[in-house]
Symmetry: none
DNA sequence: CATGAATGAGCATTCATTCAT
DNA sequence: TATGAATGAATGCTCATTCAT
């Protein structure tokens, strides 16, 4: 068996060490994000400070700046992570059904499920720092899924198929967004909306808009 | 850098105090509230500080504490005033029409008009400090109008009259609230929703829920 | 003896107390200025911080802001004090002699004496924060003496009297200023200029400009 | 506020490092010095930081310490370079004329020209860090030209030739230095001295000292 | 009723420097 | 030779709040 030429030992070590370090680095980076999200949840957007994040992860405030350029960059990255996850979940839900109306139901439920399960992210993405939503960053990492675009297309398809009363698809999509956002926001704002009550209101409202089609899920 | 040196805060305060004699004793409380409301509307929730309120009314920060327990109490009164105005506007709009469906249309439009015209208040009341919504403070002065209750009753009346498809009136009311809040919140969060687009989405969605009844107002 | 009507005791007390307080206030204010000047001398302009000033006077950094609006205001006030003292000393020296050339000698010596005796002030006024020199403040306390103007007038008088070779009085005045500033600045910059050496150079140079007139003072 | 989030410092550094391969090993020291000088000229004394220098040359801050003991050492080299250039320019100007008085004129103008064209250097060398002027560091590379010595010798020659009124040559030289430094410093301190006004004052004053000899240049 | 004086906690950010690798 | 990770010390400034008067 021909001996596979190997890198000298030292090089291997160095590479291994580099990988490990890179790994540790990514871990701390994630730890910072997590701590930030936690604190964000605890103290709210206003009472969220880099110092506390640093203390939470057990590092000096200065250290945070080794991983994130500034407070905004950290927040943006959290939001960005949220956008990606959000887009994926919506996309997955939408892809599971083909009938336009059922797909809109699915999207609506996925939207609300995301907000329910990730209130911190949702809050940052759509309530506190909605400016991130459109911010074009230089180093934009992963392409974001255009949720509103998907909804519009689906609405248009539904109208074309005669499943949805004809009208302006964009406006209809906006309406769907508003409904979902309204319910999510009321939930997050800790208004006296139990999950069940929110769910009932959502089904009721979406049902009215989608003309009595039964929800695809639950 | 040739920055014109500022006077220390104290001096600035003293100058402000010259303007104050106009206020009679008991009017001070109201003056504080007014100044607070103005500043709040100008600087928003985060940029709202007791010191600035004090400076604005021409009194010492300490003095504020003679009239309000703390910053939160003052903030609560601002919100409270918002709730009162909000309730009045909704009530007025609702009282103008008797047909239940038309009344719901009217309420919806009044709701959105309030949010559009008083975004800072709306934000405080329903987004930033929604905990105020139900908080019963000792100093609660005027009884608030129970908007959601009115909506529920109106929905129930509509169902009773056969104008609205039978169902749970409370849930229907929640749905209406969610629609309105969703649109208001998207507007306020500066998402790319022009007033026109928001209006169209509102009419579209309310229209779907209220089964094609025409809006009472343009 | 008619009893001089007196203020009620309480009022007298209050006034006394107010005066005392005002006095204490002015004392602390001066203490801050002094501490600032000291630190400025020790650490230089760059290494001069409000926190250190606070520590020096034994108060919290916050307290400084009760007396000065910000760092710049404190520095400005120190410089301002310097300008006043500077102007007075120059003016006094100038007023003591009437012959224009002797007066210029006197002014020159007074200038250098001020710089020698108040290096911190001189440095702030003419080297580090020369922007203060022309800054128009709202609350300008005392009118500053226009030293350069006096020099110009005196030069002009000297030229009119045939004591100084005819020419542009303003340019001549600028030259005198440059000479004095040069010597003062070299001294302050701790260049290897003993006081004697500086004094000799000053007399030599002024002597050349003022055509062999003997210095009015030592 | 929709601020485009920055990359963390580390990432920025890594990008810079791509450009670096061009530097050969031993040239790095010079590269650092060059970058430092540029940054120093751009940001001035206070705004000059090792991190920025490192970023500029595409290396880690730590690396700088392999070439320079600390920030001060790097700063010293910048000043040193300034002293060399300064000495060369003065020397060149002085060598161009042989008559002592003309030579002094030439030196004076060269002095002021250097200050005018390299204000940041002049400031560092003669105002901010005049302690460097005499400091003998180990790494002192090129012998500096003894400008003051040249001036003294030239003055002495002028006195010997009967062109300058007899007196102490060293004191006369000090006076010339003071005049030039005064004008340069007033210019640099941004006092309201236009270049023309400074030039006129210089010619006036030097003229008085050098007894009416015409300037060698312009 | 109102103030003046003062505080302690907090904030984002930058910097020079060190140490193990 | 060079780096990556981390730190500790600063800085200017603002804020809500307290306490004695």
């Amino acid at each position: 068996m021909p001996r596979t030429p190997r890198e000298p030992r030292e090089t291997r070590l160095r590479q291994g060490s580099r990988q490990r370090r890179e790994h540790e680095k990514q871990e701390l980076r994630q730890a910072i994000r997590d701590a930030a999200a936690t604190l964000f949840e605890t103290h709210g957007y206003e009472g969220f400070s880099l110092r506390q994040v640093a203390e939470e992860v057990g590092y000096t405030p200065t250290t945070i700046y080794l991983y994130f350029a500034d407070k905004d960059a950290l927040l943006f990255e959290i939001a960005d992570e949220g956008f990606v996850r959000f887009g994926e979940q919506i996309h997955t839900a939408a892809a599971a059904v083909s009938n336009p109306v059922e797909r809109l139901w699915a999207i609506g439920h996925a939207y609300l499920a995301f907000a329910e399960q990730n209130p911190v992210y949702y809050q940052l993405m759509f309530m506190q720092r909605s400016d991130f939503l459109l911010a074009k960053r230089e180093g934009e990492r992963r392409p974001r899924i255009d949720v509103l675009g998907i909804v519009r297309e689906t609405v248009q398809a539904g109208m074309d198929d005669g499943l949805i009363r004809p009208g302006d698809a964009a406006t209809f999509a906006d309406g769907l967004w508003a409904v979902c956002h309204g319910i999510a926001a009321l939930r997050i704002s800790k208004l006296p909306f139990t999950a069940e009550r929110a769910s009932a209101a959502a089904d009721m409202t979406l049902g009215a808009m989608l003309a009595g089609m039964r929800p695809a899920t639950g």
